[in-house]
């Protein structure tokens, strides 16, 4: 089902009352007019019926896709209750019309139902904004006959005065038909000077014969635009009425099939536009508005960077400079000092990095791991929460303690390049220490100090923000002019041996020799850790581990039993119950994790244990262990036994046929490695054979897959390692990647013979 997230004024209502309302009648007329006008467009691309031969087997072909955007504005005098004032009304109409050849059942299903999130009216003191959407759908049969949907085909699933939601099932749509439809949205906005972002995507998973965009913006509007990744340039001009005219067109766009390891924002063509109502009146300097009629082709990221700087200035002023705000960071420092004392440390004699780490842990413990009985379930599930890096809070925590921090402003390694940013939100921020250039970032409670977030690994051309004392700024823009922008450090990229999954597996045959008894220890390092930490670590264990690190005397439960927290004696039993329940589920989580990783029949899970939480930079590895029985790998062959030892890898990533031809660069999440140390006990009365055939080594500049098997009388030892050396590879290196990826896949078939003596 194709779901359009559009606001639709649903005049085609199924209820009699609304159908007869004046409003609906008005809408019917407008709708009629709109349809007449759009169907009459004199655009040759909408008359094309022949599909190029190369697309004959495509599921669907977009014959033409056109967007028509018109924006107009006017000022009105309005009575606001306290007096008269001017209000600026703007109306924006966006019409998207698409004509599609629907070739198979899949495409029919795709287009057979439209769900509209519907009509919404927002009313405020100064504004009453609304959206009205008109839809039109025609089905054109191969013989050229055309039928348009009517009111009876549309039903309402929400019929409130402030919002209506509708659905329509497209009648008589079959493979071979052409679907011609439009969705036109009229928006009325009052006193809204914000920028409206439009994007024109010049790619699709279906072939597009013609894609075009035309905008006509009233002379009071302003536009900023930029083309990305080889998208054609917008043609921007002004007509005699000083209206801004924008056009772009591209024909014959082959289908792009979203594939493995793609960074769409860096690799696929599209155009961004920011359209806003220009304003040059009183206060425009401070509102940061564009001038009416201003046309800006975005050439660099200066504006985005300035906006980012302004945002941080304001945050700094309100969130740190103001006394009450700073007090909370002072509290963290005091708490860290107290904890240092408990731990037998002298805070002031610690190095800056050591102080930063302790402050980080204190911040995490006091705020993110804080036990809250009023949000018991949320507290227990603290591990599932995601944070945006908390750059500002970490910066302030360090700053308040007298450590010299800064905020790194950079691109995301798979997002907009820093010199192509159009919006402050295109850039990300990360706190770091200016002395050691070490990063501090929290995306989850499992993050440790000095580990850079994976999304900025390897980025260059960064900026660094620090902030001036507000008293030194003699300007009206006091709050927004505090940021000092300097060149930031390059962010290193982690190597494959820093992001590791290592499996230590000790195997022996079960007594009936039908399965393997597995003793397993898993060590996860770097970026590999977080997912499994979320699955396997209990809040209670995490809290207790941290508490002990701080040399806090009492466990959380003991503290609650003591009644030190307000009324905690009364609820301690509930907390115990909830913790017990969570612990029961941990065993299931271990079992699921093992099944998911090995993709084999795993039973009799026992001795499951988290050995090291991996939440401290001094002990960063996440280590857990368990024991279980694994079926499916032991085969009887006459008197002998064959072990499908290659299947201990689970099912490694395999690159499918249709993904093997590649001409775009490869963006992976991070450099990484997977290693196994497998020890197999040779049962009494057997010898191990076939070891030589287990040895494989494929190594090149992109990665390595290597195995090494050795044996004694009693034990076979196999080391397996697979490394993806970089997070990025040029397209030209794809074959090299395939070489070691395929080798790993082939090794799945590796077998070992235990021969009866």
């Amino acid at each position: 089902m194709r779901i359009f997230s559009l606001v639709v004024f649903a005049a085609f209502t199924a209820t009699v009352i609304n159908a007869q309302s004046k409003e609906t009648e008005k809408y019917r007329k407008e709708s009629e007019e709109m349809r007449k006008q759009i169907w009459a467009w004199d655009k040759p691309q909408f008359r094309v019926k022949d599909i190029p031969r190369e697309y004959a087997t495509a599921s669907k072909v977009v014959i033409a896709h056109h967007t028509e955007l018109t924006a107009d504005s006017k000022s009105k005098i309005a009575f606001y209750g306290l007096g008269f004032g001017a209000k600026k009304e703007q109306s924006i109409t966006e019409i998207v019309r698409e004509i599609i050849k629907v070739n198979d059942k899949n495409a029919v299903t795709d287009y057979s139902e439209f769900s509209f999130t519907q009509f919404a009216k927002t009313s405020g003191f100064f504004a009453s904004d609304k959206m009205t959407t008109y839809v039109g759908v025609k089905v054109i049969k191969p013989n050229g006959t055309s039928k348009e949907i009517n009111a009876d085909d549309i039903v309402l699933t929400k019929d409130a005065s402030s919002e209506k939601k509708a659905k329509v099932a497209i009648p008589d749509l079959q493979p071979g038909d052409i679907l011609d439809y439009f969705i036109a949205t009229e928006q009325t906005l009052t006193n809204d000077l914000s920028e409206k972002a439009y994007r024109v995507f010049l790619f699709d998973d279906a072939p597009i014969l013609s894609l075009s965009f035309h905008a006509q913006l009233g002379k009071k509007f302003a536009i900023e635009y930029r083309s990305y990744n080889g998208a054609p340039e917008l043609k921007v001009s002004k007509n005699d009425d000083k209206e801004i005219i924008v056009d772009v067109e591209k024909t014959n766009i082959p289908p792009f099939e979203t594939s493995l390891w793609v960074a769409p924002v860096r690799q696929l063509p599209f155009i961004r536009m920011n359209i806003s109502l220009g304003y040059s009146g009183f206060g425009s300097r401070y509102l940061d508005t564009r001038k009416p009629g201003e046309v800006t082709k975005s050439l660099n990221s200066d504006e985005a960077l300035d906006d980012k700087a302004d945002q941080f200035s304001t945050r700094y002023y309100n969130g740190y400079w103001m006394k009450a705000a700073k007090a909370q960071y002072d509290d963290i420092e005091s708490s860290a000092k107290r904890k240092a004392k408990q731990m037998g440390l002298n805070f002031s004699s610690l190095s800056d990095d050591e102080k930063a780490a302790l402050l980080f842990y204190t911040f995490r413990f006091n705020y993110l791991l804080n036990f809250n009985i009023d949000a018991l379930s949320e507290t227990i599930n603290s591990g599932q929460k995601e944070y945006d890096g908390l750059s500002f809070a970490l910066f302030c925590t360090m700053k308040a303690a007298g450590i010299d921090p800064a905020i790194l402003i950079s691109e995301v390694r798979t997002g907009f390049r820093i010199n192509e940013a159009m919006d402050a939100n295109d850039l990300v921020s990360t706190a770091y220490l200016t002395g050691s250039k070490k990063f501090l970032s929290i995306q989850s409670i499992y993050d440790i100090p000095f580990q850079m977030p994976s999304y900025i690994e390897g980025v260059k051309n960064t900026k660094s923000f620090t902030f001036d004392h507000p008293a030194a700024i003699m300007s009206m823009k006091k709050m927004s002019g505090l940021t000092n922008i300097t060149t930031g450090p390059n962010v290193p990229a982690s190597a494959s041996d820093k992001n590791v999954r290592r499996e230590d597996l000790h195997l022996s045959l079960t007594d009936d020799r039908s399965a393997l008894t597995v003793k397993r220890t898993t060590t996860l390092k770097g970026i590999y850790k977080e997912d499994e930490q979320k699955n396997l670590i209990l809040y209670e264990d995490y809290y207790e581990s941290e508490r002990k690190s701080f040399n806090e005397e009492k466990s959380l439960i003991e503290e609650l039993e003591d009644g030190k927290r307000s009324k905690s004696k009364k609820y301690v039993e509930e907390v115990k119950n909830a913790f017990t329940e969570a612990r029961k589920k941990q065993k299931d989580a271990f079992l699921k994790e093992a099944k998911d990783w090995f993709e084999q029949d795993i039973t009799d899970m026992k001795d499951q244990k988290v050995k090291n939480l991996g939440v401290r930079h001094t002990s960063p590895d996440f280590i857990y262990s368990s024991a279980f029985t694994m079926g499916g790998l032991v085969k009887k062959a006459g008197n002998n036994i064959i072990i499908d030892i290659g299947k201990m890898q689970g099912q490694p990533l395999s690159v499918k046929d249709e993904q093997r031809k590649r001409d775009i660069d490869i963006y992976m999440a991070f450099a990484r490695s997977i290693e196994y140390l497998i020890e197999l006990e040779i049962p009494e009365g057997y010898t191990a054979e076939g070891l030589a055939a287990l040895n494989v080594k494929v190594e090149n500049e992109t990665g390595v897959f290597a195995t090494e098997a050795t044996s004694t009388d009693k034990l076979v030892t196999i080391k397996v390692k697979k490394h993806y050396l970089h997070s990025f590879e040029p397209a030209a290196n794809f074959d090299k990647m395939l070489a070691f990826i395929d080798a790993s896949n082939n090794w799945v078939n590796a077998k070992l013979l235990l021969k009866k003596k």
């Binding site: 070739n103 299903t109 099932a169 009648p171 589920k585 078939n749």
Partner: protein, 624 residues
Amino acid sequence: MKRLFILIAMTGLAGLVAAQADSPDDKNVVISKCTREFRFVKGNSEHPVQIKEESRRLYTCKSYRTEIPVAEFYNDNETIDDVNIYVNDSKKHGITPRYEYHNVDGIFYSDAHVCFFQLPLLKIGSTSEVVFKKTTLDPRYFTNIFFMDDQDIEKQEITLRIPSWMQLEIKEYNFKKYNIHKNVSQDGDETVYTYTTNNIPALSREHSAPGLTYYSPHILVLSKSAQPKDETHTYFKTVKEQYNWYKNLVQQIGDDEKVVKERTDEIVAGLTTDEEKVKKIFQWVQDNIRYIAFENGIAGFRPEKAQEVLRKKYGDCKGMANLLTNMLRSIKLDARRCWIGTKHIAYDYSTPSLSVDNHMICAWMNKGKPVYLDATEKYIGFGEIAERIQGKQTLIENGSQYLLEKVPLATHMQNTATETRRFSIDGNNLKGHVVHVWKGENKEWLLTALNDIKQDKQDNALKQFLSEGKSNFEISNLKIDNLSNYNADLKVEYDVVWKDVVTVFDKDIYLDIDNRRNLQGFKIDTAKRKLPYWFDFKNNLVFETEIQLPVDKAVNSLPEKLAIKQPGYNFLASYSNSGGKIIYKNEIVLDNTEIKPEDFSQWNKDIQQLTSFYDQQIVLTQKK
């Protein structure tokens, strides 16, 4: 049809809260006391007999504070008149119930609505109470009352107050396993039925399980007639009245014979026999009418006009059945609409009620014998019958009368899927030709999956499916037969090089030739599973491989054969060696789709044996 939905809605909290089934709150929150009273009252001229329900559920927190979702469903025939929420006896809690359209899976649009909110339980031992007042506007829609809920119910009292002017019958289901006590008393003019229950466990939600009516204790209320004033209102005294009600709806449809006939004549042009025509029309409807269900109000029971379904090219089961009936009749064939409850429902028409059926199909009366046509089964062949209606009683229209027939049971042979391989050994690889043939519901399953895929991706998807995503199973020369003729078997054949499947250790060759391993490891978790396991359909999976032995090799060892024969299923597998060939045969027969909990342990043992059989290899050795 909407009846299935009603069945679900009547369970109270089902549906919306399904995701909560495995939450730790399962035993943390219980319904310590539930009282539900149903009172038949005199209504107005439009709805002369109504049923007023007042339900009070007192939730108690047993272990730790939490929130639970509460939901109550309603529709055009049911109104929610009042909701009262008490948190620790207080109405000051700030909870506002939300009322929304309820999206039911598989139904495009219906009148289903839901009233829902999150109910806090403030601390261990605390209670929260929810009181709903509801009205059912017509006794026809007041069908069953389920005694289970999403939480354990410690004490429950369900009362029905039946005035003397209301005639009904109450049927009890699945009471045996539970502690349920019934009392009938007279209170003035009213007969009062009171069911008290102790410790009813929470509804168990398990996949591949029978429908609720098979296992949940409940009563079915069969409203017969009422004389609230002078006039007598007859409901479903017997199946005859139910049929008449349906028939009356059918008479209101307004089918346009002319439009239907024109299209039908085009479809059957050139065909001579009746059977050919029926086959063609059936497949035309399967191919051209999309399943899109509108089930608002009476549209949940009355089929859409045949000409409208033809125009829109979509419809629900009733729309398709009615269209088929009209199309067949337009060419002078005897076709009937048939009402039927799918296998999901435990009832038949011996208990006339709207809860009995949830589906409509068409029957072509071929020389007086019904041939059932269900066009919602998109890829099933003519004469093949889906498991979900097999053996079910169906109400067939027959003028002013009706027929009650049972849809025939098909055997596992209907759904046979065979895979035949002819291989030779080539170094470390097996090389050869493979032929697959799928019938019945196996064919339907595969065709459904294939047609969900974009046509230019189908070949690759099929190869992926056949090779199970393994890159060493290299398929070439793929040929597909009968992709669009559902009346013939679906056949796929291809050449394959199966790499590295031959393992050579010293002079011996080891071969593991069954990579399908049907049902391997298909054990049932007896610790968690409480309900019977239902397979989607009966099955017959036949896998055969023939391997030509190299001239210099002889068989050293072949696995022992496996023969498990149980009521309901057989697992047969064997290797043989003759004429320089190894022949492997594996046949899995499921001729009963249900495994009962008492048979789980035997099933698991048999699956273990089957798995152990698969875990054996052929050993070839050098001829001396």
